[in-house]
């Protein structure tokens, strides 16, 4: 039997970055907030100590901090005519789990999107004409602009202590920063991180080729910093164990290091871990959320009534919970109707590894941080003329090598045998003199009519609910975009002095086994038209006004940047609308 808990003002579903931000904002408003998190409690000093965190096998290879697929997974196919099969072991992306969510084991890359990214459809149509876009491309404007979000970008950057060099201060272009970024109201809170040898070499080569390289904005801090909540962060030690790992050095911005110690002391906040929300409950008319139902670690079901529901799980789980709760019309690509599951996207990434003469170059590649890097933005968004190129979109490219953990980073030049005497010698000769930029080419991924999410007809989760089905492929536009960017990137690596290059273009079909970032987006997108969006411009559900849905699931398509800063800024933007407008007249749809 379902046991019913006392009513709360707000229930927050999922406790990563956006859950922590919303809980902190709404408790500040005096509301009684409970957060419910599927995974375990995690805190920096007890769960990620630097005495044993540097374990590549445990955390990187065996996925210690991530969700286990037997708890929840998805099915995957490339096209609608295929049978989707379950993702039995993670590959293309790594769903987070536990308190802090992906904010625990991310790299900390803190990019703002371009002003034109938020009005993409309008911008591209005006510049190139509607017929320039592929006919099955379903990109749209966000309903929110860069100027709307700027104060919220700023807030999240200052919460995290972000290290970087401003490129545009109030419209004035700054030397050494990204000249293409939108105007920012003030400089970064801390200066850019220091750059190891190969990163400075990339900057030099890029300048030689006429580009304007700049340090990647970083959530791993260059110096000690006290954030507006009084949380103190320490300087990054460049240990090279960032992505896939947690940081207890308090050098990487995470919910644990920037919000949690402050939030947890509030008497109007509580948190349940190891409890998976399986449904958002609605009233009989289906127009009002009454709370959520969750299952605890003993398998018991509980109902948590609440006046306001904040859905703040990872993007894919947000969409899945909407589908399971029957909120919003599911998307049907055949009739092109419905919205939940529509405009699902990823990130178009690739890389070029450069092999240098080991008598002249020693990169000490193990020295790094998650978001260290020298980048150029000449080929992002619409910073360049796409007219003669026949595609839209772009991305940053950069030497963003985050370390050289030896299981993954013992590379050998193309043509080397994969084992035996020659392999061993090549590993030995190349480890210290190889440039391995990871996702060095970080391109946009636009939306298409037949790339979407729905419920699988065959496979079920541990509760007997259908798994969510991913139908995803790479389209010609993204393949062309990637070829163009990767060639530009290879030219820079070559100019650095590499003797041999391993150029790895992103090609179709989309491969669910190869890691391509965890930047999954869409499926519950924001917008100004209920026919093409699940949420209005404040992330409020069109159908259930006391439900707000956070996260990258709100992105109508993905830009050529890492998503987290925009995800955080959207949460602050939504929180501000709730605080200043919604709470005065709860349940009413906010004016758009």
């Amino acid at each position: 039997m379902v046991k019913k808990l006392p009513r709360k003002d707000v229930v927050v579903v999922g406790f990563g970055w956006t859950g922590a931000i919303m809980a902190n904002e709404l408790t500040d408003e005096g509301l009684d907030v409970i957060a419910i998190e599927r995974g375990p409690w995690r805190d920096a000093p007890t769960d990620f100590p630097p005495t044993y965190m540097q374990d590549e096998l445990r955390y990187r290879v065996r996925h210690e901090l991530f969700l286990r697929p037997d708890q929840l997974t998805f099915t995957f196919r490339n096209t609608m005519s295929q049978t989707a099969l379950p993702i039995r072991s993670w590959g293309a992306f790594m769903p987070p789990n536990g308190v802090g969510g992906g904010g625990v084991h991310w790299n900390g890359e803190m990019w703002r999107f371009l002003p034109s990214d938020f009005v993409l459809k309008t911008h591209l149509t005006e510049r190139y004409g509607e017929s320039f876009l592929p006919s099955d491309m379903t990109i749209q404007d966000w309903g929110v602009t860069y100027d709307d979000l700027e104060p919220h970008y700023d807030r999240f950057e200052y919460l995290c202590g972000t290290s970087g060099t401003a490129g545009n201060l109030g419209g004035g272009i700054q030397e050494g920063g990204n000249p293409f970024e939108g105007p920012r109201s003030r400089p970064y809170p801390t200066p850019a991180q220091q750059q190891p040898f190969s990163h400075t070499l990339f900057g030099k080569a890029a300048r030689e080729l006429g580009y304007k390289p700049f340090p990647q904005p970083s959530g791993n801090l260059s110096q000690a910093y006290t954030n507006p909540l009084g949380m103190r962060l320490g300087p990054c030690t460049y240990c090279g164990f960032c992505e896939w790992f947690g940081c207890s050095n308090y050098s990487k911005a995470s919910p644990q290091t920037t919000i949690l110690p402050y939030l947890i002391r509030k008497s109007n906040f509580s948190l349940r871990d190891n409890s998976e929300v399986i449904r958002i409950n609605l009233d009989r008319a289906g127009r009002h959320a009454t709370g959520v139902t969750f299952v605890d670690s003993s398998g018991d079901e509980w109902e948590q009534p609440a006046d306001l529901v904040i859905l703040s799980a990872y993007a894919l789980f947000n969409v899945q919970l909407l589908l399971h709760s029957k909120i919003g019309q599911p998307y049907d690509p055949v009739t092109n109707t419905g919205v939940v599951g529509r405009n699902y996207t990823h990130q178009t990434v690739s890389t070029v590894n450069g092999f240098f003469d080991n008598k002249k170059f020693n990169f000490n590649p193990f020295i790094g941080s998650g978001s260290i890097g020298m980048c150029i933005d000449e080929f992002n968004g619409d910073n360049f003329d796409h007219g003669p190129l026949g595609f839209v979109g772009g991305g940053y490219v950069g030497q963003v090598q985050t370390g050289a953990r030896p299981i993954e980073s013992t590379l050998v030049p193309p043509g080397t045998p994969r084992w035996g005497v020659d392999w061993k010698k090549a590993v030995k000769d190349n480890y210290l003199s190889t440039v391995k930029p990871g996702a060095g080419v970080h391109g946009s991924f636009y939306a298409y009519r037949d790339i979407y999410l729905d419920l699988d007809p065959t496979y079920k989760d541990r509760f007997g609910r259908p798994l969510m089905r991913i139908t995803m492929d790479l389209k010609e536009n993204e393949i062309k975009q990637n070829k163009f960017l990767t060639d530009k990137f290879a030219e820079i690596i070559k100019t650095m002095g590499a003797e041999k290059l391993a150029v790895q273009y992103r090609t179709g079909p989309y491969d669910i086994t190869a890691y391509q970032t965890t930047h999954l987006n869409g499926g519950a997108v924001m917008g100004t038209d209920p026919k093409t969006s699940v949420l209005n411009r404040y992330l409020q559900s069109w159908d259930v006004p006391n439900l707000f849905v956070m996260g990258a699931s709100a992105f109508p398509q993905n830009a050529g940047y890492n998503p987290t800063l925009t995800v955080g800024a959207l949460a602050y933007w939504s929180a501000a609308a709730i605080r200043t407008q919604y709470l005065k007249s709860p349940g009413r749809l906010l004016d758009v």
Binding site: Q54, Y238, W423
Partner: protein, 182 residues
């Protein structure tokens, strides 16, 4: 397994091979643990065969695959080399056998020979470079060979020292090589 490990990573005067670096011990321990049993992975039916880019679709885990694969390798070797098992072959014979296996030209009973070789290569090399607490990378041989300083956590003094060799020897999670018992 030790003979296979030594063929995949041969010993040389500068650095030990897969056997002496403990790679077979590493694999044995991994297979006896969660990895061997596919623990935590989605194991609900139906198990259908799909495209390669849809990922591994079988309820047969690595432990079972190794058991079948190693037995099948020995059985083929005995047929081809007058009753000798893989470990009894000469170095050249071992190399040749693995090359033929890699080319997909040997049929193994119960497992796909080419995929099994790929899996063994990956696991042996992983054992060579994982922290020594897992049984491989003995004496930090893998790390010493490439110049990786191990589980250190502070390079603040080194991030700006460009193109200089980092001077300190590797350390593992439990300390330096001399403190590790085998």
């Amino acid at each position: 397994m030790e003979a296979l490990a030594d063929t995949i990573i041969p010993s040389d005067p500068q650095a030990p091979g897969g056997k002496d670096a403990g790679c077979a011990v590493f694999i044995d321990r991994q297979l006896a643990g969660p990895y061997g049993r596919q623990e935590g992975l989605y194991q609900r039916p139906p198990f259908l065969s799909g495209a390669k880019n849809q990922g591994y679709q079988s309820d047969i885990g690595p432990a079972e695959t190794y058991r079948a694969g190693l037995a099948a390798i020995n059985s083929v070797c005995r047929e081809r080399y007058g009753g000798r098992a893989f470990a009894d072959l000469s170095t050249d014979e071992r190399i040749l056998f693995l090359k033929v296996l890699e080319a997909g030209e040997v049929k193994l009973q119960g497992v796909d020979g080419k995929s099994f070789l790929e899996q063994m290569v990956k696991d042996v090399q992983m054992g060579f470079f994982a922290d020594p607490i897992y049984g491989g990378n003995r004496d930090m041989a893998g790390w010493k060979m490439i110049g990786y300083p191990g589980a250190r956590y502070n390079y603040l003094d080194w991030v700006n020292r460009h193109n200089e060799r980092f001077p300190l020897p590797p350390v593992g999670i439990t300390g330096n090589a001399e403190w590790t018992r085998w």
